[in-house]
Amino acid sequence: MAGGARGVLPEPARARLRLAAEALGPLALIAIVALVGAQLSTADKTDAINVLVITAIVVGLYVFIGNSGVISFGQISFVAIGAFAAAIWTTPVGTRDATMPDLFGFLASPRLTNLESLLVAAGLGAVMSLVVGLALMRLSGLSAGIATFAVLEITYNVLANWEKIGPGPTVIANVPATTGIPQAAIGCAIAIAAAFGYQRTRSCRLLRASRADALAARGIGVSIFRHRLIAFVLSGAICGFAGALYVHELGSVSVTELYLALTFSTLSMLVVGGSQSLWGATMGGTLLGVLYSFLSNAVSGTTVFGLSFTLPNGLNTIIFAVLFVGALMLAPRGLTRNREFLAVALGERAPHPRGPVAIALAGGDGESPGDVETGSSGGEAASRSVKFTPGQPSP
């Protein structure tokens, strides 16, 4: 099929087709979840909304983790900040006075609309991630993982204990539950669009080049710090935005919900889907979200094809965990093998594990089988856009 398309269409047209498909694939998946969800009962609709919101968080994670190759356990901090900001500023002032009497004045009085709260949540996520990123974006590997985990711990403990910025260990209730299927779907689509737009930028291509080979990227003058920071801030904004969607879905929020369980479940979804492609993030979020909802419902009893059955308590988590391990063993690069939508649909090769910079350094010509990064997540473009400039400083 790929060969056929290559023969019929000129290169620019094929590039545009691929571009459109890479964007439309994830958006179509979201549309399908939304359309199916809209047909479900009110009760089941809740699950569909949750799948969409969780997918938005996973896309937020992908923007930084997937593009940079740096693991971060701290992105849920920005979800929490967005969620708390949206919750506090949309809860009726009377409820705030009664349940959070110690709030700072700027938190206690203004009341935002739904849209304003979403935008403010995204903005706060971006600002907080900028502050954190300025300190941490020079780290890689295990150091980055531990440092971002520390950010999560700090955020959790500040939110759980500082009653001038929230309810402490208790819950913020009475939050307008405005996230239905339309808001969840549009919100998730915005997250995908932002992630897609970003991955077409030169900055993202350079970041991916550094993911493939940091040393080589530095050698050709790529400022890894700057490009990681940009990805981190965009990821923080998407996560903050998704946090607002989340709190407007539930109508309440407490800090315990936005901590380790959500961190590891969303990371699992990203890894199982394929952490280095937007399609993988979207697939992981939706597929595992649907699977998790199904298994959780089965614990309370469910019916499939007329057969009623009930899973024993805890078996849902065991099945989920076994499938997760199985997925990692059989598809360590994720179900999509880190390919974008069109590449998966056309059955194209997965990208070279070390990407185009490594190939170039190894003397590959980019044409030999295995050198070509078809349908990859932008590495091919990265190699085109990276220009070697003698004397350009490395970070």
Binding site: S41, T42, A43, D44, K45, T46, D47, N50, P92, G94, T95, A98, T99, N157, A160, N161, G168, P169, T170, V171, A173, N174, A177, E249, L250, G251, S252, V253, S254, T256, E257, A261, S293, S296, N297, A298, V299, S300, L307, S308, F309, T310, L311, P312, N313, G314, L315, T317, I319, V322, L323, G326, A327, L330, A331, L335, G347
Partner: protein, 407 residues
């Protein structure tokens, strides 16, 4: 083209589901038989059967289900049987919300939620948005009501004690026992702990006691050993500990005892039950709990004892004294339905409940007001654990410093 890894994945998934299928309870929809033959009153129980809140939620529900069977065998509520439909939240907000939606979709006319307002909040919001009476059997704060949920919260109640009651009971216990100095240790994990220890502190000082030191930690912050070390060496006659049965509790008790402090450790219902205690007799000693009932088979109320033994015989031995709050909440619901002549409208039932004044229940008389949607001034059971064995000591009221509603 189907890739080989997808085929492998299919094999794995088939295997996992095949294995699971062997463990699942597959059945058609079998209707229960009822002595009462009217249309069932459906209570949607959205509780934790797996995780953090399980030791509190499950015994309360199981006791309530046993109670409901008795009520049904005697003709039900105005001829209508009570039926519970249970949804497991796993103490997760998203499952709490979807469980509540599913319960209501399955016909629930009253919502029954988990024993902590924070974990229950998403389900409570759903119940309130559908204008249902929303009951927590054992949340022990005043958060189930308008204070937390705004005007719609007038439909939400808990049959647990307001923290001022528990704080005052513990203060009275210490003074009565001659333990005039106390170190207070507060786990900031839940508001309930903060409120109980805060109320204890105020009441203890009013009664002439002296607080030697105030210590705190938050479950998960890994400081419990250091806090225990300070508590052990504080020199106070007793340690009042407000936390729950997470891993930090046995760590705290073990650390204090290992450091040679054998003085009383006193806590609220949240540390009730023998299931969490370290198995070494030298460590599990001189522990005191203010709770709702004794789970050591010696409660002074014969009906409570009988219920306890029945649950034990059915393999559902309650872990904490909170199990009596399940039947108490059910009795409250039944009283409200009867007072409203069979109406299940949330507004009407809530109006009936808010006017409860010393309504007799298995856990003692229950009073609510517009301001307090949790129970105040109910006597609590004092249980002492010595060498791994618990014994009922006495029932203690909060006394003059406990909150009193003027009716």
């Amino acid at each position: 083209m189907i890739h080989r890894s997808w085929l492998k994945m299919g094999v794995v998934m088939t295997g996992v589901f095949g294995l699971a299928l062997g463990m699942v309870d597959v059945s058609g929809a079998a209707p229960a038989s009822h002595a009462a033959n009217g249309k069932p009153i459906i209570i949607g129980a959205v509780i934790d059967e797996t995780s953090t809140m399980k030791p509190f939620d499950q015994p309360a529900l199981e006791a309530a289900e046993i109670w409901a069977k008795k009520v049904n065998s005697k003709g039900g509520v105005l001829g209508r049987p009570i039926e519970f439909k249970v949804y497991n939240t796993e103490s997760q907000a998203t499952l709490a919300k979807s469980g509540a939606e599913k319960a209501i979709a399955a016909g629930a006319q009253i919502l029954w939620v988990t024993c902590d307002a924070t974990f229950a909040a998403p389900a409570v919001e759903v119940g309130l948005s559908h204008h249902l009476l929303t009951i927590s059997p054992c949340t022990s704060t005043n958060l189930m009501g308008p204070e937390k949920f705004g005007p719609a919260g007038k439909l939400a109640f808990t049959f647990g004690n307001e923290p001022s009651t528990t704080g005052a009971v513990i203060a009275r216990l210490l003074i009565q026992k001659g333990w005039k100095t106390a170190t207070v240790v507060t786990d900031h994990l839940l508001t309930y702990f903060v409120d109980v220890c805060g109320n204890f502190t105020a009441d203890f000082e009013k009664l002439g006691g002296k607080i030697v030191s105030q210590l705190s930690y938050t479950t998960g912050d890994h400081t419990v050993s250091q806090v225990a070390s300070k508590a052990a060496s504080s020199g106070a006659a007793a340690t009042v500990l407000c936390t729950t049965t997470t891993a930090t509790l046995p760590t705290f008790v073990t650390s204090v005892r290992t450091l040679g402090n054998t003085k009383p450790i006193v806590g609220p219902w949240a540390i009730d039950g023998g299931f969490w205690e370290p198995s070494t007799p030298k460590i599990s000693t001189n522990l005191w709990v203010a709770t709702y009932a004794s789970v050591f088979g010696d409660d002074p109320n014969p009906t409570v004892r009988s219920l306890f033994h029945q649950m034990k015989a059915e393999g559902e031995t309650p872990l904490t004294g909170g199990f009596v709050l399940g039947p108490s909440a059910l009795e409250g619901i039944i009283t409200a339905i009867e007072r409203e002549k069979g109406s299940l409208t949330g507004e009407k039932l809530a109006t009936a409940v808010v006017h409860f004044r010393d309504v007799a229940t298995l856990s003692g008389p229950v009073t609510f007001s517009d301001e307090y949607h949790a129970v105040v001034s109910r006597r609590e059971r004092i249980v002492e654990i010595t060498h791994d064995k618990g014994r009922y000591v006495e029932s203690l009221s909060p006394g003059k410093y406990g909150l009193v509603l003027h009716t």
